[in-house]
C-alpha cells in the first residue's frame, strides 16, 4: 500500500505527496501529459527533442543540472509516445533546489539558439546510436506504420526520420512549450521524508504563481478497426532472420488491458511460457522468442518477436506459432498455469515498489489515468482475471485480421 495525499493549485497543477520517513533521499517527479502522439505528422520527434531542451536552461536559471548537482542530486527524463517524465533525486534537506529548478522551467525556458542547435545534433546521434547503428535497430520504425494507419502511434518517439529533427525551428519549439508545458498539463509528485505541510508550503511558494493555461484538447485520429492480415518483409544486413507479430490490444484504461498483459506473459515472458517451450525448446525453430505489450494509453500492441534458427523458414515457424496461439484460444488456462503467471506479477510488483522513484513515477502515471490510488488497486485487478476472460480476449485478439507481421530477412552486406 502506497499512502499519498493529493491537492491541486489554483493554476491547475496536480500535486501528489508521498511520505517515506525511512530514506534520506527525496524524489521530485514531474509528468507532462504530452508525448510523441501529440506531434503533427510533419514534425515528428519533437516531444523527445523538447525533453532534451528542458535541460538547456530556463528563463531565470542558465543551467539546469549544475545547481542540482551542487545540491547533491541528479536528474533525468524520458519520453514515450504518451508522456514526458522528468525526475530529480537529491538529499531531502535540499529538496527546495529541485522545486526551484522544476518550477522555473515550467514557467518558461531560455530558448537559446545554441541549446537548440546542440541538442538537435545530440538527438541525431541518439537516432543513429539506437536505431541505425545496430542490427534490428530500425524494426520499430518499420513496424509502427504497418500496425497503425491513422493514429500517431504510427511513428516512433525518436521521430519518423532524421530530417524532421534537423528542420526543427525555434518557433516550433516555443509553440510546443506554450501548448503543453504549463501547470494544468502536469502532475507533480514529491516523495520522501517531508511532511504534507512543508510540501504544501514549498509547492505553493515555487509553483503557485505560474500562470494558468487551458489543458489542450487531445483530438487524435481514431485508428480504424483493422480487418486484414498485414505482412511486410524487409531485407537487412543482419546475421539472422527475425520476425515481429504485432496484435492490436485494448487501451490502457480498460480492464482488458490487464487481461492482455497476462496473455503476453502466458505466451512469452518466461522460460516456462508457451511459445518458448514449444517453438524454441520442443521444435527448435527459433533461437529466441518473447511476447510483451507496448503498454500504451490508446489502443496498443501485443508483440511476439523472435529469431529463426539457421535453416528454418518463416513459413515453418509461422505454422507452429499459429498453432500455439490457437491452443490458447481453444482451451482455458489451467489453474496451475494461471497461478504461476499471477504470482510472478505479484512478486514483480513488490520489487518495483521498493524504490522511491518508482513509487513517485507510478503515482503520477496512475493520476494521469484518473486516480493515483490505482497504483494500490493494480495487483487486485490482475489477480481477479479469470481463465474465461483470457480465453475470450485471446479469441478476439490473437487473429490474423488483427495482426501485422514484419519479417527481417538477413542478407549479406
Amino acid at each position: 500500500m502506497i499512502a499519498f495525499n493529493r491537492f491541486k493549485l489554483d493554476n491547475g497543477l496536480t500535486v501528489i505527496h508521498h511520505l517515506d520517513p525511512t530514506t534520506p533521499i527525496a524524489v521530485v517527479n514531474v509528468l507532462y501529459d504530452v508525448g510523441a502522439r501529440d506531434e503533427s505528422e510533419n514534425r515528428t520527434g519533437f516531444a523527445h527533442l523538447f525533453e532534451h531542451l528542458m535541460f538547456g536552461g530556463s528563463v531565470n536559471i542558465p543551467d539546469f543540472d549544475a545547481p542540482l548537482q551542487f545540491a547533491g542530486g541528479e536528474s533525468n527524463a524520458f519520453t514515450s509516445n504518451d508522456i514526458t517524465n522528468y525526475y530529480d533525486t537529491l538529499p531531502v534537506q535540499n529538496i527546495e533546489t529541485a522545486l526551484w529548478l522544476e518550477s522555473d522551467r515550467m514557467l518558461s525556458l531560455a530558448f537559446t539558439p545554441k541549446s537548440l542547435e546542440v541538442q538537435r545534433n545530440v538527438v541525431i546521434e541518439e537516432f543513429k546510436q539506437r536505431y541505425l547503428n545496430q542490427p534490428y535497430g530500425d524494426v520499430w520504425l518499420e513496424l509502427r506504420p504497418l500496425a497503425y494507419r491513422e493514429h500517431p502511434y504510427k511513428w516512433a518517439t525518436i521521430g519518423k526520420e532524421i530530417r524532421h529533427i534537423e528542420e526543427a525551428e525555434m518557433e516550433d519549439v516555443k509553440a510546443f512549450f506554450k501548448a503543453h508545458y504549463h501547470p494544468a498539463n502536469a502532475i507533480l509528485c514529491i516523495a520522501g521524508n517531508i511532511s504534507l505541510e512543508k510540501t504544501t508550503e514549498l509547492v505553493n511558494k515555487w509553483f503557485g504563481d505560474i500562470p494558468a493555461s487551458l489543458k489542450p484538447d487531445r483530438m487524435l485520429p481514431r485508428e480504424p478497426q483493422q480487418t486484414e492480415y498485414r505482412e511486410k518483409t524487409i531485407e537487412r544486413a543482419v546475421p539472422n532472420d527475425a520476425f515481429y507479430y504485432a496484435f492490436k490490444m485494448p487501451e490502457r484504461r480498460s480492464f482488458e488491458y490487464y487481461v492482455a498483459d497476462i496473455i503476453s506473459d502466458a505466451l512469452g515472458r518466461e522460460k516456462s511460457s508457451r511459445l518458448y517451450g514449444k517453438l524454441k525448446k520442443e521444435l527448435k525453430l527459433v533461437t529466441s522468442i518473447n511476447a510483451y505489450i507496448s503498454g500504451s494509453m490508446d489502443e496498443g500492441l501485443l508483440v511476439i518477436e523472435g529469431k529463426l534458427s539457421n535453416g528454418v523458414t518463416f513459413e515453418q515457424m509461422e505454422t507452429a506459432l499459429w498453432e500455439t496461439l490457437g491452443e490458447l484460444n481453444a482451451n482455458p488456462l489451467s489453474d496451475e498455469e494461471a497461478a504461476r503467471l499471477l504470482i510472478k506479477i505479484r512478486t514483480a510488483k513488490e520489487f518495483q515498489e521498493q524504490g522511491l522513484l518508482n513509487r513517485a513515477m507510478n503515482l503520477c502515471i496512475y493520476e494521469l489515468l484518473g486516480d493515483a490510488n490505482g497504483v494500490n488497486e493494480e495487483n487486485a485487478l490482475y489477480q481477479s482475471v479469470t481463465a474465461k476472460q483470457i480465453q475470450e480476449l485471446g479469441k478476439t485478439m490473437l487473429r490474423k485480421e488483427n495482426c501485422s507481421v514484419l519479417r527481417v530477412k538477413a542478407i549479406q552486406a
Partner: protein, 419 residues
C-alpha cells in the same frame, strides 16, 4: 518577491549511516552476508562463483554459465523454470571478468523452496545434448549479432589489447566456439568452478534464522576450499588501433589505461578527479563533447575494478566524421586537468554531488549490501567509506592537478576505435 535567480540554501550531507550486514562463516574461506532489516516481503539471494570470464579459455565460462539451469537427469530446463516460476521466483545470472553470479529474487515465503530447486538444478546439471545444442545455437547467433555492433567490437578489442600480457584476461570468444563443444572440458570446468567454486553468498531479506542456516547447509558444499588467485601486473604495448565494422554510421571509442586496485592510496582522490573528467552528467567530457559540440549521445569515463588491479576507460559512440575531432577534445580535457587548477565553483559542486551520491548508494538494505560487498570483495572494510567522505571533504585543486599529472598522460592511453 520571489528570488527566482538565486538558488535556495543548500545544506551539505553531514552524516551517512553505513550498516554492516550480519556475517556468517560458511567455511574458513567463504562467508554469507545477510542484511535482515527489509521493510517488505522481498528477498534477494546472490551466489558468487569463481567462474568469471578469465577462468577458462575462449567461451567456456560463458557457455557453462548459460547452461546452469539447462536440466538434470530428471528434469528438463523447462520443468526447472516452471517449478521456480510457480513460486514466483526470478532468476538472474551475471558473468563479469572475475566473477559469476546467480541471483534469485522472490518473496520471503518462497525462499526456502526456491533455494532447494536452484540447489538441485545446479547440483544435478546433466549437460543434456539437446539443451546444449539449443544454447549453443542461441549464443552463436548472438555472437554474430554482436560482431555488428561497434560498441561491442570496441569493448572486446580494447580488453584484448589492454590485457595482452595475460592470456586468460585477453582471450576472446570466436565464432567456432559455438559450433561444437567438448563435453569433457565443459564438465570439468563446471565441477571446478561451480560445484567447488562458491566464493560468497549474500542475502537481503527479512527471513528467519532457520532459512539462513538452511542456505548455508545447502550451498556450503560448493564452497571453494582455497583462496582464488587473480591476475596482476598487466602491460600493454599497443597505442592506437582501429577495427573496421562494415556499414557502421558511428564509431565506438574505447580508450584507457591500467590504474590500481581499490586499496591504493590514490583511489578515492582519483575517483574525485574522474568524476570531474567524465563520471557525471556535468562532467568535462559531457559538457564539451555532448553539450557543447553535439558529437555524441553520451560519453563517460569509468574506473573498473579488478581484484589486484584496476583500469580507467573512456567510453563513447560518436558520428563517424567526428572521431578524430572527439579524440582531440578528449586530449584537450586531459591536458586542462593537468595544467589548470579546478575552479572552486566546480570543486564545491563535485564535492557536494559525490557526497549526495554516496548518501544515495547507502540508502536502503539492497543498496547498502551492494555497497558493503563492493569493498569486502577486495578485503576492505566499511572504514573505506568514512575515509572517502573525509577525503572528498578535504579535496583541494592542487591535489587534483597532481593526480592528473600522474595518471592522465595522453601518451599512456590505449586507444581503440571500431566503426
Amino acid at each position: 518577491m520571489m528570488q527566482r535567480h538565486t538558488q535556495p540554501a543548500v545544506l551539505p550531507v553531514e552524516h551517512i549511516d553505513f550498516v554492516k550486514p550480519h556475517i556468517f562463516d560458511v567455511t574458513e574461506e567463504v562467508r554469507l552476508l545477510w542484511m535482515k532489516d527489509v521493510p517488505n516481503d522481498t528477498v534477494r539471494l546472490d551466489l558468487f562463483f569463481d567462474a568469471g570470464i578469465v577462468r577458462g579459455n575462449k567461451s567456456i565460462p560463458a557457455i557453462v554459465h548459460s547452461l546452469l539451469f539447462s536440466g538434470t537427469a530428471i528434469k528438463s530446463s523447462v520443468e526447472i523454470h516452471e517449478s521456480i516460476d510457480t513460486l514466483g521466483g526470478f532468476l538472474d545470472t551475471d558473468l563479469s571478468f572475475e566473477t559469476a553470479v546467480v541471483s534469485i529474487y522472490c518473496l520471503r515465503e518462497n525462499l526456502d523452496k526456491i533455494a532447494l530447486l536452484v540447489g538441485d538444478a545446479i547440483n544435478g546439471l546433466a549437460f543434456r545434448e539437446s539443451e546444449v545444442e539449443d544454447t549453443l545455437r542461441s549464443m552463436g547467433q548472438k555472437f554474430h549479432e554482436n560482431q555488428q555492433k561497434v560498441r561491442n567490437v570496441g569493448q572486446q578489442q580494447f580488453r584484448k589489447l589492454l590485457f595482452e600480457s595475460h592470456e586468460d584476461y585477453s582471450t576472446l570468444a570466436e565464432a567456432a566456439d559455438f559450433d561444437e563443444v567438448n563435453y569433457q572440458s565443459m564438465k570439468r570446468y563446471f565441477k571446478d568452478h561451480y560445484l567447488n567454486g562458491l566464493t560468497r553468498i549474500t542475502l537481503v531479506g527479512n527471513v528467519e534464522q532457520d532459512s539462513v542456516d538452511a542456505l548455508i547447509d545447502l550451498f556450503g558444499k560448493w564452497a571453494m576450499d582455497h583462496k582464488p588467485t587473480f591476475g596482476k601486473s598487466f602491460e600493454t604495448t599497443h597505442k592506437k588501433t582501429h577495427f573496421p565494422v562494415e556499414g557502421a554510421v558511428q564509431t565506438a571509442i574505447r580508450m584507457g589505461k591500467m590504474m590500481f586496485p581499490k586499496n591504493h592510496p590514490d583511489y578515492i582522490g582519483f575517483q574525485f578527479l574522474n568524476t570531474i573528467l567524465g563520471d557525471y552528467f556535468g562532467s568535462r567530457l559531457m559538457s564539451n563533447i555532448r553539450e557543447d559540440k553535439g558529437y555524441t549521445y553520451g560519453i563517460g569515463s569509468v574506473m573498473m575494478e579488478l581484484h589486484n588491479d584496476g583500469y580507467l576507460v573512456i567510453v563513447t559512440e560518436v558520428g563517424k566524421d567526428v572521431t578524430e575531432a572527439t579524440l582531440a577534445e578528449i586530449k584537450l580535457e586531459l591536458k586542462r586537468l593537468q595544467e589548470e587548477p579546478v575552479s572552486s565553483e566546480e570543486l564545491e559542486l563535485v564535492r557536494n554531488y559525490m557526497l549526495g551520491q554516496l548518501l544515495k548508494s547507502a540508502d536502503g538494505p539492497y543498496a547498502m549490501l551492494d555497497m558493503y560487498n563492493s569493498v569486502d570483495m577486495y578485503g576492505i572494510d566499511l572504514g573505506f567509506y568514512d575515509r572517502a567522505i573525509a577525503e572528498i571533504r578535504a579535496m583541494q585543486p592542487e591535489r587534483l592537478q597532481e593526480l592528473a599529472k600522474t595518471y592522465l598522460n595522453w601518451e599512456d592511453f590505449l586507444i581503440v576505435t571500431a566503426g
